[in-house]
């Protein structure tokens, strides 16, 4: 015999396991929480220039794309370099919107959120949101179950309630011991704080690695990427 309650529990469809918008990095995910970026809420990603915030956010975005999540990134300052983002192996599409002026960034984010097709929408380099726009964007994010991330250089904020805020601060890189190390990968540390939000305050120290350029010669005196001495399209220069 089986009770009706048990029968219902067995036959009721389980909620689908959605993609977790995590980074795969233990320390960063500890700050984000088990489910990663919270959908339907605004997450602030705050830090000065060269604090590593964009690189860590890219780790989250690339992992989301690997799970088939469409990502819209509003590059309001038109500062990103395409080479850092080109990865055809990822299933989820990445739309980068580059408006002519940073002021149009919030409009672009709203258009992307309105489609309810993007799992993550990043508003990067736009001026601070006013309260009305911020509330509207959050409403759009809630209706579309999208994670809205605002990347800003300073902590002065407006734009309605924030679900989570991560503050990034660069730490000094250890000096290179010799010339060979000076030409190798550059490892530098970033301190990430979760000053407030739903979860208790916490802080982590993460490391970013700026890799060695693929054709960089190991010997300091050797030229790195000499010019192709043969004209392209000729017999020896294809």
């Amino acid at each position: 015999m089986i009770s009706l309650t048990e029968l219902l529990q067995q036959t009721r469809p389980r909620p689908p396991v959605g993609p977790r918008l995590t980074s795969g990095l233990r320390d960063l995910d500890a700050l984000l929480g088990d489910e990663g970026l919270e959908t339907g809420r605004l997450t602030e990603w705050v830090g000065p220039a060269t604090s590593g915030k964009t690189g860590l956010l890219r780790a989250v975005v690339q992992r989301a794309r690997a799970q088939g999540v469409a990502v819209g990134w509003v590059d309001a300052a038109c500062a990103l370099v395409a080479a850092d983002w080109a990865d055809d192996a990822l299933a989820g599409p990445l739309w980068v919107v580059r408006p002519p002026t940073p002021d149009e960034g919030a409009f672009c984010a709203e258009v992307l959120l309105r489609t309810r097709s993007f799992g993550v929408v990043v508003l990067d380099g736009a001026p601070p949101l006013d309260d009305a726009r911020g509330v509207r964007l959050q409403r759009m994010a809630r209706l579309g179950a999208s994670a809205l991330v605002v990347v800003r250089p300073d902590a002065a904020r407006r734009g309605g309630p924030v679900g989570l805020r991560l503050a990034f601060e660069p730490l000094a890189a250890p000096p290179a011991e010799d010339a060979l190390q000076a030409r190798g990968p550059l490892v530098w540390a970033v301190r990430v704080d979760r000053p407030r939000g739903g979860a208790p305050a916490a802080a982590r120290r993460l490391h970013l690695v700026e890799p060695t350029p693929p054709r960089l010669a190991a010997w300091p005196v050797a030229p790195d990427r000499p010019a192709n001495r043969t004209r392209p399209g000729t017999r020896y220069g294809r």
Binding site: T50, S51, A59, R63, D84, V96, P99, V111, W188, A227
Partner: protein, 549 residues
């Protein structure tokens, strides 16, 4: 005789009249030219004021503007002209059931079935009705030629504008103005009642030329070679050989002409003899859907039009879907209170037929359009369309919604241009800033991307910083050590101690216009953070390219 009677109706300056509707009435007297789009834009048509200034068709737009600095250049919009020609054809169908735009002729030229007009005034009655109907439709001065064949009817319709040379008209060409009842100009004279009628034209007015049945060959033979509807290259060749009239062409041996100039010459000979099988057969193509929203009161703020437009666009979408079409180009026409028309062309990112997508497309344009007078009516016309592609419905696909994404794409592209929505594409280049490019997003997959569970993902690589580039490299003030490496740089208004990591020497493109040779450095700031700088090895200058974030 073929048993056919054909009329060729031609509205002079048809394209110009259609295009001038976009201008306020007081601006239509200014010099105006229709310019074909393209890298080497050329003038296709000019009005009288522009002609007075020395602007001529086939000039380049640059030359035309040099001749007339105040020239108003309008687009040669073939889609709009075709739509207007369709409207005029519908009007002319009140005179004859078969009216079709003539292939190969400028917009505004029609072939009309002229048979069965015996009890309706004959050929003359048909011509009168065509001229009157066209005048009602704001195309006065319609030229009409009626003959047994299309080539003769066409030549007759062009006869009033055909240059006949310094020696005047051929003796058989006589022109009579019906209103005056006298044959005049071009050396014609009134025929006496007892004089045998040896003229080719039965009735000729300043705009109507009627060729009696069976006289097509005689009529064509008297015309200059330019009046014959044949391949332009062949016509130039024949004129180069000294042929002046169609009769000269007909006098040549057909076999030798065909052997020398090919089948085009054979076709020219047949047309010179009045043998032309072109007929106005078939039905007038069904026009592409269009909707109109007349306003009760003129509206100055175009954003207010958005509220009334949704229902209208639902109607347009229903008409598109009823015919299985998707629009690839639309025109938003605002009829203004000053009797002018403001037309905005809309090019969606892909074929659209959903009301929501159409609404998003038009809404953004209405928010930004600038008009000179209040709007009294809004029209949305489909200019081009393609068969709609059946859509796959993805049950359980979750958030993936191609229609909504296409609507967003249309809105962003319509507002900011093609380069606004992009995706990264790798490029084989040494330079970091050139090792990828932003490619425009042009299509949206109908199916959602493949999904992988979070547990199936491989551990991520160590996180790498992302470059943020300045729009253009900026000069960087640097203090160098003995080895020439910077120990401090001035950034964000103050000096900062740095440790230089590098160099990474880059050179190439010496074969092109922009060769490069530089040394890239990563400057690790003492207080944290890394800058992206480069050094010009020849000049020794330091440049800040951006930073790692």
């Amino acid at each position: 005789m073929s048993g056919w009677r054909l009329a060729c109706a031609r509205a002079p300056d048809f394209a110009l009249r259609v295009a001038l509707r976009a201008l306020p009435p007081d601006a239509r007297g200014a010099p105006v030219a229709l310019v074909e789009a393209g890298q080497h834009a050329r003038v296709r048509a000019v009005n009288a004021a522009a002609r007075l200034e020395g602007v001529r068709p086939d000039q380049t737009a640059t030359r035309a503007r040099a001749r007339c600095p105040g020239l108003c250049c309008l687009d040669w919009d073939l889609g709009a002209f075709t739509a207007a020609a369709h409207d005029l054809a519908e009007v002319l169908q009140r005179a004859s059931p078969l009216v079709l735009p003539a292939d190969g002729d400028p917009p505004g030229t029609f072939l009309v079935d002229a048979r069965g007009m015996r009890y309706l005034g004959g050929d003359a009655g048909l011509a009168d009705r065509l001229v009157a109907l066209a005048a009602e439709a704001d195309f006065p001065g319609l030229r009409v030629g009626i003959a047994d064949s299309a080539v003769a009817a066409r030549a007759a319709a062009w006869l009033p504008d055909t240059p006949l040379g310094p020696e005047g008209p051929p003796p058989l060409l006589r022109v009579m103005t019906r209103a005056q009842g006298t044959r005049h100009d071009r050396g014609a004279r009134r025929r006496r009642p007892d004089e045998p009628d040896d003229s080719i034209e039965e009735i000729v007015s300043s705009s109507v030329v009627i060729i009696p049945p069976g006289r097509d060959a005689d009529f064509l033979g008297a015309l200059p070679l330019t009046a014959l509807d044949v391949d332009a290259h062949l016509r130039a060749t024949l004129r180069g050989l000294g042929l002046k009239t169609v009769a000269d062409l007909r006098a040549l041996p057909p076999a030798a002409l065909t052997a020398r100039f090919g089948p085009e010459a054979r076709a020219a000979l047949e047309r010179a003899a009045g043998l032309d099988l072109r007929r106005p057969e078939g039905a007038l193509p069904v026009p592409l859907p269009a909707v109109a929203l007349p306003l009760e009161h003129p509206i100055e703020d175009t954003t207010r039009l958005i509220f009334g437009l949704r229902g209208t666009l639902t109607t347009l979408a229903a008409r598109l879907m009823a015919r299985g079409l998707s629009a690839t180009r639309l025109a938003l026409a605002l009829l203004l209170d000053d009797h002018s028309e403001h037309v905005e062309r809309l090019d969606p990112a892909g074929p659209v037929h959903h009301p929501g997508a159409l609404f998003e497309l038009l809404r953004d344009r209405l928010e930004r359009v600038q008009i000179d007078a209040p709007v009294v009516e809004v029209q949305v016309r489909v200019l081009t369309a393609v068969p709609a592609v059946p859509e796959q419905v993805h049950l359980g696909a979750g958030r993936w919604n191609p229609a909504a994404m296409q609507g967003a794409l249309d809105r962003l592209l319509g507002r900011f241009g093609r380069a606004a929505v992009v995706r990264p594409v790798p490029v084989d280049d040494h330079r970091p800033e050139a090792a990828g490019r932003w490619a425009p997003v042009i299509e949206i997959p109908l199916s959602p991307p493949l999904t992988a569970g979070p547990d199936a993902l491989a551990p991520p690589p160590p996180p790498a910083p992302v470059r943020r580039a300045l729009p253009t490299p900026a000069p960087l003030a640097a203090r160098l050590d003995a080895g020439g490496h910077p120990i401090a740089v001035r950034w964000q208004g103050r000096w900062r101690r740095v440790e230089a990591r590098g160099p990474e020497r880059l050179s190439g493109a010496w074969w092109g216009d922009e060769p490069y040779a530089r040394e890239d450095f990563r400057l690790a700031l003492a207080e944290g953070g890394v800058l992206w700088a480069s050094r010009d090895p020849r000049a020794g200058d330091w440049w800040l390219r951006g930073w790692f974030d």
